[in-house]
Amino acid sequence: MREETFIAAVRRSVGFGRLEDPGPNPLPRMESDFADDLEAIFDTTATRTGATVHYARNENDAISLIAQLMKEAKAESFLSWDKEHIPLPDLTTKLEAAGFRRTSGHVPPDIEARKAHQIGYFDCPIGITGADAGLAETGSIILRSGIGRPRMASLIPKIHIAVLNREHLWPSLRIWLANHSDDATAVANTTIVTGPSRTADIEMIITHGVHGPRYLHILLI
């Protein structure tokens, strides 16, 4: 059907004036109860979602912590964002030097090659990403897609490790959006991750890792 015909039917009904127009929503509430203590709040809220929050003082600590998590999971390989998008510039090089294999996250355009590449992700144990922001109110992290930022890295592995610069903590989604509305829609995909994959479809019992990661580690640096 043509757009004009479709819209005309809508316009006719709008014309009946069944709903009173209250006008657009004014600027959203910007108050925040906890501006000073974002880190502590984030720790509590993220933990409540089922994520684990870690802290590292410097880059070396951070890298050994990640290597430790990978060893505990008996992982041999990882899928990750490119190093310039993770606030630990040496991370991927050092992990590779330590013997972990890095799976390419760049999906080839050809349809068959694409499928073959993605089927290679099937058992991928670890995904490592940066994070564009952390939200204290909800314990969420924000991940934007782009060059060198495979969406699959935060989605397909059993364990997702996200590295977040503590300077990128914000009070709430509302406040982040008010400051970054263009950032959110300038890329193809912006995802707000709040805890690990979760379902309660079977008798309302909450279980994790049904499709996405079962474990979410957030490393604050």
Binding site: V10, S13, P28, R149, M152, A178, A188, T199, E203, G212
Partner: protein, 464 residues
Amino acid sequence: MSKVGFRDRASAAIKSKEALATAAGAKRFTERRIQAAESFPAMEAARDEAQRIRLHTLANLDRYLEQFAQSATNAGNFVHWATDGEEANKIVLRIAEESESRLVVKSKSMVTEEIELNHTLEEAGIEVVETDLGEFIIQLAGETPSHIIAPVVHKTRKQIGELFAEKIGVDLTEDPEELNAAARFYLRTKFLEADLGISGVNFGVADTGSISLVTNEGNGRLTTTAPRVHIAVMGMERLVPTIRDLGVMLEVLARSATGQALTSYSTVITGPRQPDDADGPDELHIIIVDNGRSNVLGQSTAEILGCIRCGACLNVCPVYRESGGHAYGTTYSGPVGAVLVPSLLGLQDWGDLAQASSLCGACLEACPVRIDLPRMLIELRQRRVAQRLATPGLRRAIKTYAAAATRPTAFRVMMRAGGLAARFRPTTSGWMTSLPAMGKKWTSTRDFPSPETRTFHQRWKKSR
């Protein structure tokens, strides 16, 4: 369409014990929602904003649809328009054929249930796999969902274990963890091999042409990331003006649906994979579906289009809890279904749904966007009565009854005045099988809704 009425379906559901499991699930949902609201002091303010955003969008929907289509096209999407389900299905089929798709993965979507898309695809020989765990179970069982956000709330884990053993050949288990793992394994192969991903849309953002999708399991993200082509099917009323408005909606949706602060994955998609992006779909189609909605927009029940499908009104509804989602006979159950379905599909066949409510007001209290469901239920009943009843006397009497029956005190006064108190005893089922005086003829063929005895507040306290 179903010719048996609500009552028949409800008694079938009650006999099959589906309703029992539903009631337990609904109660837990409500507990979680109330907890979430209590831990979020700004909830009431957020609800006011959410209501305002929805009403403003609907009152200017023509304008926002044009803006959305323009921005979505600029962002590299293909936008399609479908007047009804048949047209939408045809568009999907054409895209599936053009992309030579054999295997389709779907993330949970009410609108594609509404238009029975799976049926169309399967008839064309295309394999369709539902990937939301609950929807997957429903598909294996060959059933229909019974709750907006928990499609298998009516099933026990024992039944699900037996179903998995039979249909996907895993060892018999009742353990939800093991059942999860089995589904993950089975569905993961499908995701990675699929040619086409089909999703619904929770919200469309008019000024940027973005679509937002929320899932807890991550199946929504996989559906819209792994396959080369993504089709998003959107009911035309899903829009919000800006991305900041979207933030408000996400805030109230998760808290009202599952009691979470935010859904595990809230995604904003603005176009297909960009040049040199690591991954994502190469093609993105958005199909905007009317299917009766523009008609509803011109009715006195237009407000129902503001619904964000959170399921809260189902969970608190005493009738839904007693009878289960299948009693409503279509995709949309509970109070929202009781208003939306007769508005979309007509009172002739579906008017009895408007009777499936005790008008206790709990739904309005629970609704995050403050949709006045009781008002619309009464209006639909009145419209139905006006269409059906020949005698003006009875028509007038029922109007008075409808006004009074929702207010216990007024009702008692009216009944006492008429000396009818004894005859108009409210029944536990919420329906009266015999009416005195001129109402006799009515109840010889149908039951009459019983008056509310407790005040809304008493009932609401009890239901939480």
